[in-house]
C-alpha cells in the first residue's frame, strides 16, 4: 500500500483557509495569476450598502457559545461591530435602532447541503441540471455552471433565515463534481452569488446510488467493492497529475507544461487541501472505509452527508475530525437509510464530533431551525442537556466550518460578516418565523415589509396572488 507521509491535516486546513482570506483581500499579481489556471468564474458578489443597525433587547444566540438575554447587536458596513449587553452606541444619525423585545437573534442559517438552482422549481427535465449521470467520475463538472439564479426556491429559503448555502451536484456518481458556496441574494449570474473566498467542495457518494445507477446499465460500479475501487483509481491518477504539475513548477517554467485536465485539476485540488470533500455516505461501515481511503491518499474528508449511521462511529468521526451533516429523523426511503435514530445529531455532539443539521430539500431548508429543535429535544429526552445556544451551532458555525467559511461567517462576533436573522420568537419553536434577514449587514428580507420580499424573474407576473387571496377565501 502506498502511503504518503502523514500530514498534520488540521493545521494545513487552517492555513489554507487563512490563505483564502488574504487572497481575496489583496489584488493578485500577474505572476501568481500565471500559476492559477482557473481565474474564470470568480465571485463578483458585492456587499450592498446599508445604514448601520442596532438590534437591542433581544435574546441573542451567538453560536460562539453564548446566549445573551436582553442583548444588543451592532453592525455597520457589512460587518458585526459589537455584541453584548452593554455596548457602546455610536452617535450616528443614520443608525437604525430595532427594539427586539421578545425576539431572538441568531447568525444567518447555513445549509451545507442544497440543490437550489441546480434542481430548481418547477421540477421539470428542462431545468434539472444537478446530476451528470453519464460516468461514475465527473470531477470535471462544477455545480455553479448549472445554478439558475432565478430558482424561486432561493427566496423561500431566505424567508426561512438562510443566508448562505452550499449547492452540490447530485449523488449518482462516485465523484460528482465541484460544489459551490453561495450567498442567498437575488442575482443575474451565479458569480454574483458566489461567497467571496469560499473554497470549492467536491461531492462524492458512497453506497447505493452509484452502484444502482451504473450497475443497472451493466457498467462499473455494480457493487460496493467497485465503488471503492473506483475511488482509489481516481485518486491514484490524481496523485500522479499533482506530481507532474509539481515537477513542472519546480522546473520554474522550463520544459513543457503538462496538459490541463479538468477532472484532475479538481482531484489534485483536494490533494493540495484547497478543495473540501463533501461525501454523501449513509452507513457507518462505509464511512469507515472512506476514512481509510482518505488516509491512503492523504486527504481530509470535511463532512459525511446524510450520515444516518454516524451515531455508530461517532468516536471515530471525532478522532478523524470529520463533520456529519444530518437530518433529524428522515428514514426508510432506501435501505442505507434504515437505521435512523432521532438522537443521531445529539449522539454525534456528545462524542465531541462536529454535528450539522442539513436539508438536501427545498422544503427542509426553510425549516432548519425546527429540524435542529427536534434533534435537540431528542437528545434532551435521552438525558443530555443541549441548550439553544449549543443547538444553533448545528445550523450556523458548524456548517460554516465544514464549508471553509467559518472564519468569515457563522457566529455573531465582532469583525465577522453581518449575516443575521431576527426571529419573532424562540427559533426552536414551530410557531417562530424569521422576521428580518440581513446579509452582510443589508436587509434582504423583511416579513413585515413587502419591499424587502424578493420575487424571482420566473414568478414575476405569473399570478396576482395577494388580490386573489382576498377574493378567494380569507373573510
Amino acid at each position: 500500500m502506498i502511503k504518503f507521509p502523514a500530514q498534520p491535516r488540521l493545521i494545513l486546513a487552517a492555513l489554507i483557509s487563512a490563505a483564502f482570506l488574504s487572497a481575496c483581500e489583496q489584488p493578485q499579481s500577474d505572476e501568481t495569476k500565471k500559476e492559477e489556471p482557473n481565474t474564470a468564474f470568480e465571485s463578483t458578489y458585492k456587499v450592498k450598502s446599508y445604514h448601520p443597525v442596532l438590534i437591542k433587547n433581544a435574546t441573542v444566540l451567538t453560536a460562539a457559545g453564548d446566549r445573551i438575554d436582553n442583548g444588543s447587536l451592532l453592525f455597520k458596513d457589512g460587518k458585526i461591530v459589537a455584541v453584548g449587553t452593554n455596548i457602546e452606541i455610536p452617535a450616528d444619525e443614520s443608525l437604525e435602532v430595532i427594539d427586539a423585545q421578545g425576539k431572538w437573534v441568531t447568525p444567518g442559517l447555513i445549509d451545507v447541503h442544497s440543490h437550489l438552482g441546480v434542481y430548481p422549481a418547477p421540477g421539470v427535465d428542462s431545468a434539472a441540471d444537478g446530476n451528470e449521470m453519464t460516468a461514475p467520475v465527473t470531477a470535471e463538472v462544477w455545480a455553479e455552471h448549472s445554478v439558475w439564479p432565478h430558482d424561486p426556491q432561493f427566496e423561500l429559503a431566505l424567508a426561512g433565515g438562510v443566508t448562505s448555502m452550499q449547492v452540490l451536484p447530485g449523488s449518482a456518481n462516485l465523484i460528482g463534481g465541484r460544489t459551490v458556496t453561495l450567498k442567498n441574494v437575488p442575482a443575474r449570474s451565479v458569480m454574483e452569488m458566489k461567497f467571496p473566498g469560499a473554497p470549492h467542495g467536491l461531492k462524492m457518494a458512497c453506497g447505493e446510488n452509484p452502484k444502482r445507477v451504473y450497475g443497472s446499465k451493466g457498467r462499473s460500479p455494480m457493487t460496493r467493492m467497485a465503488n471503492i475501487a473506483g475511488f482509489r483509481a481516481a485518486w491514484i491518477k490524481a496523485a500522479d497529475y499533482k506530481t507532474q504539475w509539481e515537477d513542472y513548477e519546480n522546473r520554474e517554467g522550463n520544459g513543457k507544461a503538462p496538459k490541463r485536465d479538468l477532472q484532475m485539476e479538481t482531484l489534485a485540488g483536494v490533494l493540495k487541501g484547497e478543495i473540501l470533500i463533501h461525501n454523501h455516505c449513509y452507513r457507518a461501515d462505509e464511512m469507515a472505509l472512506m476514512m481509510e481511503i482518505a488516509d491512503e491518499f492523504d486527504f481530509q474528508i470535511s463532512t459525511f452527508h446524510h450520515a444516518v449511521e454516524s451515531y455508530k462511529i461517532a468516536d471515530k468521526l471525532a478522532q478523524n475530525n470529520v463533520c456529519s451533516a444530518l437530518w433529524s429523523d428522515w428514514w426508510g426511503f432506501k435501505q442505507e437509510a434504515f437505521d435512523m435514530v432521532p438522537e443521531n445529531v445529539a449522539l454525534v455532539e456528545k462524542a465531541g464530533a462536529c454535528a450539522i443539521v442539513h436539508s438536501d430539500s427545498p422544503t427542509g431548508i426553510q425549516h432548519l431551525n425546527k429540524d435542529a429543535a427536534k434533534s435537540m429535544a431528542s437528545g434532551n429526552a435521552m438525558g443530555m442537556n443541549i441548550t439553544p445556544e449549543k443547538a444553533i451551532e448545528w445550523i450556523t458555525i458548524n456548517p460554516a466550518k465544514s464549508m471553509g467559511i467559518g472564519d468569515q461567517t457563522g457566529t455573531l462576533e465582532a469583525g465577522k460578516m453581518a449575516d443575521i436573522v431576527l426571529w419573532d420568537g424562540n427559533p426552536f419553536s414551530v410557531y417562530t418565523k424569521a422576521e428580518k434577514v440581513f446579509i452582510d449587514g443589508a436587509l434582504m428580507y423583511d416579513r413585515l415589509d413587502e419591499k424587502y420580499q424578493p420575487v424571482s424573474d420566473f414568478q414575476l407576473g405569473q399570478y396576482d396572488f395577494e388580490v386573489k387571496a382576498q377574493e378567494g377565501g380569507a373573510q
Binding site: W330, W331, G332, F333, Q459
Partner: protein, 434 residues
C-alpha cells in the same frame, strides 16, 4: 397478545360503509386514570387545563376536572397534554418497508383490470417497522391509499389501526382515489381533456353497469372500457357513499373538477390542492373536503405555481373541511411529523383547534362518523396520546400511547439502535446488546 383478537360487535355503520370495530380483549375490567393533564377533548367540553380521564375496558368512562377515584393504573399527567391519537392520512404505512425496494412495496399495480377496485388493506403488513415508529410518535390509525398504477384511478383506501395486530382493519373502502393534472394527463393520452373524458366515461359506465348489471355479468352487453370489478367499486362513488378523492393542484383544474362533480352528482374531495386557496369559497360552497400538506409551499410544478403556506388557513376560514397529508415522500415512514405540519399551518394563520382537528377529529368524522374515535369523551375509544407538551411543537415528544385502553410499547427499531450505540466508550462489542 395472540393474533386472534376478540372481535366485538359490528357497529352500526354510516353510509353503508363496511366498518369493523376492533377492540382489544381485556381480561378484566381494567381501569386506568390519567390525572392532571391538559386535555384537548375535541368535544363540546373543549380544553380542560388540568383534567382527569378514566379508562375502563378500553373505553373512556369519564372526563372531568377532578375524578377522585381509584384505578388499576394511575398516570401522572401533570404538565403534559392529552389528545386522541393522530389519524394519519393517505399514506402507505404497512404497504412499504423501504421506499427504493420494489419487492417491499405493494401500493400500486400495473394490472390494467385494477383501477378503482384496487384495494390494499388485505396485504397490510402489521409487522412493518413503520408501525412502531409511527405509533410511538403518536399515530394510532391511518388511511392507507394506493398509489397511481396503470391508469388515473389508483384504487380504494382503508382505515387501519397501528396497534400492530394482523386484524388491523378499522374500515375498508372509505374512498376511491384518482388523479387529475400533469401526471394524469400523461397517463391518459397526453391531455387533461382526455383525463376528464376518462373520469366521465368511468362514472357513466358505472351507471350503465348499475342499470344493466345482469346483462353485463352474463356477457350479454356491449364491451365496456372498465373492468367489472372497477365498475362495481365505483358504485360507492355514484351512490355518494364514499368520496372520490382526486389529487389536483391548478386553480382551473379544481374548478373543472367541481363542475365535473356537480354534473356527475358525486362527493368529491381534493388532495394536494396547491391553488385551492384561490377558490376557497367555491370549494366551501360545494362542500368538498381538501387534503393539504401544510409544509409544502414549493412551486414544484407548472400546475402548482400558486402554492403557499396559508392554503390551509384560508380554506379553513372559508369553511372548507381541511385535513392534513404527511410530508412529501416521507409521508409514510415519518407520517408522525404531520403534527409539525399542523404547527406550521397554525404559524401561518390556521386556528389551533382546527389544525389539531385536521389530523384527528375531522378525518374521524369524514371517514365513518360513529367509530367512537376522535374525541376524549365518555363512550369513545381510549385511543390516546400523552405528550410532553404542546403536540404541534417540534420540541414535544409522545410519552405514552394507548390504543383500546392498552398502553402500547414505546419501543421501536430506533430506540433499540439508540440503546445499543449510545455508550460507545464503554464497550464497542455492540452486537450482543439487544
Amino acid at each position: 397478545m395472540s393474533l386472534l383478537k376478540a372481535k366485538t360487535l359490528i357497529k352500526p355503520i354510516v353510509a353503508a360503509l363496511s366498518v369493523i370495530s376492533l377492540m382489544a380483549s381485556v381480561s378484566s375490567a381494567e381501569t386506568t386514570l390519567i390525572k392532571g393533564a391538559k386535555i384537548h377533548t375535541m368535544s363540546p367540553q373543549g380544553v380542560l387545563e388540568s383534567g382527569d380521564v378514566l379508562i375502563e375496558d378500553g373505553v373512556i368512562k369519564s372526563v372531568a376536572d377532578d375524578l377522585s377515584i381509584q384505578a388499576d393504573n394511575i398516570i401522572d399527567g401533570k404538565g403534559k397534554v392529552l389528545t386522541p391519537g393522530i389519524f394519519a392520512l393517505i399514506n402507505q404505512i404497512g404497504l412499504v418497508e423501504l421506499g427504493s425496494l420494489d419487492q417491499t412495496a405493494d401500493m400500486a399495480t400495473d394490472n390494467e383490470e385494477q383501477g378503482a377496485s384496487f384495494r390494499v388493506d388485505q396485504v397490510f403488513n402489521h409487522n412493518s417497522t413503520l408501525i412502531p415508529v409511527n405509533r410511538s410518535n403518536g399515530v394510532t390509525r391511518t388511511l392507507i391509499a394506493p398509489s397511481l398504477g396503470y391508469y388515473i384511478f389508483a384504487g380504494r383506501g382503508a382505515v387501519m389501526s397501528l396497534d400492530g395486530d394482523y386484524n388491523a382493519l378499522i374500515a375498508k373502502d372509505v374512498a376511491i382515489f384518482a388523479a387529475f393534472g400533469e401526471r394524469a394527463a400523461d397517463m391518459s393520452g397526453g391531455s387533461r381533456a382526455s383525463t376528464l373524458y376518462q373520469l366521465n366515461q368511468a362514472l357513466d359506465e358505472a351507471r350503465i353497469y348499475k342499470n344493466n348489471r345482469s346483462a353485463i355479468e352474463l356477457g350479454e352487453f356491449r364491451e365496456l372500457h372498465y373492468s367489472i370489478e372497477d365498475l362495481r367499486a365505483l358504485q360507492a362513488v355514484i351512490d355518494k357513499r364514499v368520496p372520490l378523492i382526486i389529487s389536483a393542484n391548478r386553480e382551473s383544474d379544481l374548478l373543472t373538477l367541481l363542475d365535473f362533480a356537480k354534473q356527475q352528482n358525486i362527493k368529491i374531495a381534493f388532495a394536494g390542492a396547491a391553488e385551492a386557496w384561490r377558490v376557497a369559497k367555491q370549494i366551501a360552497k360545494a362542500d368538498a373536503a381538501v387534503f393539504v400538506d401544510p409544509m409544502d409551499n414549493l412551486p414544484s410544478s407548472f400546475e402548482s405555481l400558486g402554492k403557499r403556506y396559508d392554503n390551509a388557513a384560508i380554506l379553513s376560514k372559508a369553511g372548507v373541511k381541511v385535513m392534513f397529508l404527511g410530508q412529501g415522500f416521507l409521508d409514510s415512514h415519518n407520517a408522525y411529523t404531520v403534527r409539525h405540519s399542523a404547527g406550521n399551518a397554525v404559524a401561518y394563520g390556521m386556528d389551533y383547534n382546527k389544525a389539531l382537528a385536521a389530523m384527528i377529529t375531522t378525518p374521524a368524522e369524514y371517514f365513518g362518523g360513529d367509530d367512537a374515535y376522535g374525541k376524549i369523551a365518555e363512550g369513545f375509544k381510549a385511543e390516546l396520546v400523552l405528550w410532553s407538551g404542546d403536540p404541534l411543537e417540534v420540541t414535544t415528544l409522545a410519552e405514552q400511547v394507548w390504543i383500546d385502553g392498552k398502553a402500547t410499547s414505546m419501543e421501536n427499531r430506533s430506540t433499540k439502535l439508540r440503546e445499543r450505540y449510545k455508550a460507545l466508550d464503554t464497550d464497542k462489542n455492540t452486537g450482543y446488546r439487544k
